[in-house]
Amino acid sequence: MSIKSLAIINQTAPFGHANAKDALDVALIMGSYEQPTSLYFHGDGVWQLVQESQPEKLNIKNFIKTFDALAFYDIEHIYVCQDSLLQRGLTAINEIDGLSILPAIEFSASLKRHHFILNF
């Protein structure tokens, strides 16, 4: 079984839909099977990186804290679309190990280096 690399694209905001949590679950499983996996945050997906969000106020479990564990699962390549941040006026986002903020053109070029893409 040859090793394939996977890119997981997050493009929905974190607490309106289960997409963000479902994407994170896939990422952690891929990581625990030692599969090369990168995370991408694009469009409304960048809202997942907002500092000090308090989903408990919406009765939603704070799965965002699990982002801090990504390095432990060897997920060390996390890319954020700079244009998406700018369009939403987001200047401060969570510091996560391995996170790079890339202009849209570099962001898409980096995506192309993966065998497979999953979208959430």
Binding site: K4, V26, F116
Partner: protein, 125 residues
Amino acid sequence: MKNIAIIVTTPPTSHFTKTALEFVKDAAMQFNVTGVFFYQAGVLNGARNIDLPSDEVNLSIAWRNIAQDLNISLHLCSTAAERFGLTCFLDDGQPSLQTIQQGFKPSGLGEMVALINSADRMIQL
């Protein structure tokens, strides 16, 4: 022959799921479809008790027929299935025939890892 893996994340009420079904049928003629993995609301495709008017396509049954006719495995994410109220496992680990359509196998996300790894192409709908 190339291996194709399919990921279905939309419920049977979504027209994307109908597209996925047609895609699988066509892909199976040219490629080796190694499996279909149902995740998120896609697990509802494995619900046995969906009842539709007779002039509408029952996707749960359509998937069952595809699995039989084309010998394609249908993997139902068991965690997602339980979230959606589909109790998957009986004591012997077999899918419950009261809730799960024939042909669907309860699987973990690890099965998705294996499908992705054995695939030359992966399609998500």
